[in-house]
């Protein structure tokens, strides 16, 4: 009945307003703390701003107003706020600061009118405009928390005549609920058991329910639009969010809680991981490379105490954090490596072939959000994997973790890879998929506590497509590991040759010889892997133009190009550097450089970019290495040694292998 009346009333309003328009263009209703107020001089709209008499401000907002007739200045005081407004002056003074406003105070019927929203918001009061009814709502601002996070001011609560209304979209977002617009105003909110249709001017409606009993009757209410945002009655909030809403209208406090427990993570088989949750959840997922990882962020969720208890002795990767997962502060140097994937994303684009949630793309791509929050709120746990019980590889990995020092990478891929090596080398590709598990490690943490987010990271041994299935029990992640790329074609380019000797060494040696020897050693090493095809641009002391080298790689549609060089400058110049040009080669350059630098032990001249002909014009990931300086006595002497050349070649092979396994 009431709803019917409201509908009728709305209808009347719709027709009434155009009719009024001619006569009373500026008619505005004013509702303060839910009560209609009719001041002797009615509010008027000027420059799209509502102006109200001083008395309204004084009484309605509970502020003191002093009027100085001489300077024509109103001084409004409320707690710690002092606001001075002068007649016709568009610049006000707020706590001593000059503030501009759209509509300056003005005189109408011998009453000074003040800009309501400006004054109200300066005083920390909520002001809202309902366009449909041309009503201004004014009320004290509510304290609002969502899962313990104070969002007062971000989520507006308007005191309408009968009840408070709340802005729904921000709340839904904070709770990780999906909202989307079907038409301009028709919003669909998905709380994972029901879909709600929320349209201003209409009652709330359930459009889809997972419950077999059909659509249950809900405490309904009419949706409105205030400040051009969708607002719903406060009493509907529990139904809409499936959360708990505690309201203290006297204290003007609203506490909204909707947390899902993550109750367990289990590995069903080599390619399926289940995450049990207390109610349906919708994770945000993205992928990272180097090594391949799938990251799931479960919004508005906590690791349940039972789950944490069941982990018992399970070692947290964090070394010095105590066992309290409630503690939020963690030290900077907390096992930097171990935490790496858990929080700091590689600044690489997520792989496009795998699905990346749209609203998360920015984060996965730039890592910007994560940079703000480098550390998870609690420790990171590593889930024991069923197939690792007797295998030594797991412990091996962990040892590496804790012992490696500055290296940004979580786990030294070289060591990690050794396990992979032996197995992969002796098996057919099909056997590799079958016998060598796709999942390398599963980590999880209470990633954030404000808002609550549980992060689960699946680190993979090889690239996989995946599917996430969400049901009332939680999530299932089904991996579809891609077979190792076969016929991976690597072009090895020994710089210079023939009439072009390259740089001169201090012992009368020439660069072309060093380059060729290392290249030939590298070719031999790479050929040991049956999934690699290896081509050398030159196999002897031949001259090739730079373009001929490029054409060899491009014509064969190679997957990777590496050009081997040595540097020359002053006798004191030293160091190893690796160059790339195109963005697509950046990962390769960093991986190669790490291995190469480790082998040479020369000063680190870092990964650099430069338009070298051979890496600029090749169409695949391409790098050029400058092993060391032939003009430096020591480095040249090293580069003349066969053992050193072998070591360099091995490091390049390991780098290529590392890249192939963890990035391709």
């Amino acid at each position: 009945m009431k709803r019917f009346l409201t509908a009728v009333w709305l209808l009347v309003m719709v027709f009434a307003i155009p009719g009024l328009a001619g006569a009373q263009d500026h008619s505005v209703s004013l509702v303060i703390e839910g009560e209609t107020v009719e001041p002797d001089v009615p509010p008027l709209i000027h420059n799209q701003r509502t102006l109200v008499p001083v008395r309204v401000v004084a009484e309605g907002l509970g502020a003191d107003v002093d009027w100085d007739g001489e300077t024509r200045t109103a001084t409004i005081t409320n707690d710690d706020t002092i606001l001075k407004l002068q007649l016709d002056n568009p610049v006000a003074e707020l706590n001593g600061q000059r503030v501009e406003m759209d509509a300056p105070p003005m005189i109408r019927n011998q009453r000074m009118l003040l800009p309501l929203r400006f004054v109200g918001e300066a005083m920390g009061i909520t002001v809202g405009w309902e366009d449909l009814t041309r009503t201004v709502y004014v009320n004290q601002t509510y304290t609002v928390t969502i899962n313990g996070e104070d969002v007062s001011g971000k989520v507006k609560i308007y005191q309408l005549k009968n009840e408070p209304y709340v802005e729904i979209e921000t709340i839904a977002g904070k709770l990780g609920l999906d909202t989307r617009y079907q038409e301009e105003n028709r919003m669909i909110l998905d709380n994972y058991s029901e879909n709600w249709e929320i349209t201003p001017g209409k009652p709330l409606k359930v459009t889809q329910s997972s419950e077999t009993t059909g659509l249950k009757s809900k405490k309904s209410g009419v949706v409105k639009q205030i400040d051009f945002k969708t607002v719903v009655p406060l009493r509907s909030l529990e139904d809409l969010t499936e959360g708990s809403v505690e309201t203290d209208l006297k204290k003007r406090e609203i506490h909204i809680e909707r947390l899902r427990n993550v109750e367990g993570i289990t590995v069903e088989d080599g390619v399926t991981v289940s995450i049990q949750t207390s109610a349906p959840v919708k994770p945000i997922d993205f992928t990272l490379v180097g090594p391949h990882r799938i990251v799931l962020d479960i919004p508005a969720s906590v690791l349940s105490e039972e789950f944490l208890d069941s982990l018992g002795e399970l070692e947290e990767l964090k070394t010095d954090s105590d066992n309290s997962d409630i503690e939020t502060g963690t030290k900077e140097e907390d096992s930097e490596q171990a935490n790496d994937e858990m929080d700091s994303e590689d600044p690489e684009e997520p792989d496009q072939s795998e699905q990346v949630e749209e609203n998360y793309e920015g984060q996965a791509g730039t890592g910007s959000t994560d940079e703000e929050d480098q550390k998870p709120a609690s420790g990171i746990f590593v889930l024991p994997l069923p197939w690792e019980e007797e295998g030594p590889s797991n412990t091996e990995v962990k040892d590496t973790d804790s012992s490696s020092e500055e290296d940004k990478d979580v786990v030294d891929p070289e060591v990690k890879e050794q396990g992979v090596h032996e197995i992969l080398d002796n098996l057919s590709p099909e056997e590799v998929i079958e016998k060598y598990p796709a999942i390398r490690e599963i980590r999880f943490s209470q990633f954030e506590e404000s808002p609550y987010i549980v992060r689960v990271v699946l680190e993979l041994n090889r690239k996989s497509n995946y599917q996430i299935v969400s049901d009332e029990n939680g999530l299932q992640i089904k991996l579809d590991p891609l077979p190792p790329k076969l016929g991976y074609l690597i072009v090895v380019d020994a710089g210079h040759g023939g009439k072009d000797p390259g740089a001169q060494g201090v012992s009368g040696n020439v660069e072309k010889d060093f380059n060729l020897d290392v290249a030939q050693r590298l070719v031999k090493l790479l050929k040991q892997y049956k999934e690699f095809q290896v081509v050398a641009t030159r196999q002897d002391d031949t001259f090739l133009t730079l373009d001929e080298r490029v054409q060899i790689a491009n014509d064969m549609n190679a997957d990777l190009f590496i050009s081997i060089h040595a540097n020359a400058y002053r006798p004191t110049s030293r160091g190893t550097e690796t160059y790339y040009y195109h963005q697509r080669s950046k990962n390769l350059a960093h991986v190669i450089h790490r291995h190469l630098l480790n082998a040479t032990g020369f000063p680190d001249r870092k990964v650099q970019t430069a338009p070298f002909y051979v890496i600029k014009h090749t169409d695949m990931p391409a790098v050029l290495t400058e092993t060391g300086f032939m003009t430096n006595q020591y480095e040249n002497q090293m580069m003349l040694k066969p053992e050193f050349r072998q070591k360099v070649a091995e490091s390049l092979a390991a780098g290529i292998r590392d890249y192939y396994l963890n990035y391709e």
Binding site: D500, R570, S573, R574, Y579, Q608, H617, L624
Partner: protein, 179 residues
């Protein structure tokens, strides 16, 4: 064909250079080019003076180091030659030029491309990494001038794939690409 075009362009340039020399400080505007603006501020006197940052390398050639230098020239054409002289001659201790011994025929602005025609006699003794620094120093220095949008190296009037052996000179350096 391309080589031909460049030779012709250079010929035209040197002719216009000669004619400009007689008319004093008249700005060089290549014929038939659209969007070409006068690259010199209007001046009353015969000689121009401005500040320019010239880039060299540190002792290990791991970083570029800049020096603010006075640039003086009488005709616009002289400007780039003067910069070349500065580029070959660092003033501060610990600053090294990688262009010290560089010989070239001409350095001219054609439309918005600075064309440096190097001598084929040059030998370059440094390795690829140092060569990268040399081009960095060069391009950083010359891209300071807003009229220079591209830099093209030629050797005895011809475009070559890599003037110094490693870095691409087949395509011009473009301002956006300069790193």
């Amino acid at each position: 064909m391309k080589r031909m075009t460049i030779l012709v362009t250079i010929l035209i340039m040197s002719l216009s250079l000669a004619s400009c020399g007689t008319t004093g400080s008249q700005p060089d505007v290549s014929p038939g080019e659209t969007g070409t603006e006068t690259e010199q501020p209007p001046n009353e006197e015969a000689s121009e003076q401005e500040k320019v940052t010239v880039y060299y390398v540190n002792e290990q050639a791991t970083d570029l180091v800049g020096e603010e230098r006075d640039l003086e020239y009488e005709t616009p054409e002289q400007k780039y030659e003067e910069v070349m002289l500065l580029l070959q001659d660092p003033r501060e201790d610990g600053h090294y030029s990688l262009w010290e011994a560089f010989q070239y025929h001409t350095i001219t602005l054609q439309a918005n491309t600075l064309v440096i025609d190097a001598s084929g006699e040059n030998t370059y003794t440094f390795g690829g990494g140092i060569e990268a620094m040399a081009f960095d120093a060069f391009t950083r220095t010359f891209f300071q001038f807003p009229e220079v949008e591209q830099i093209q190296f030629t050797v005895d009037g011809e475009i070559v794939e890599a003037m110094m052996g490693h870095i691409d000179t087949r395509e011009p350096f473009v301002r956006e690409e300069s790193r």
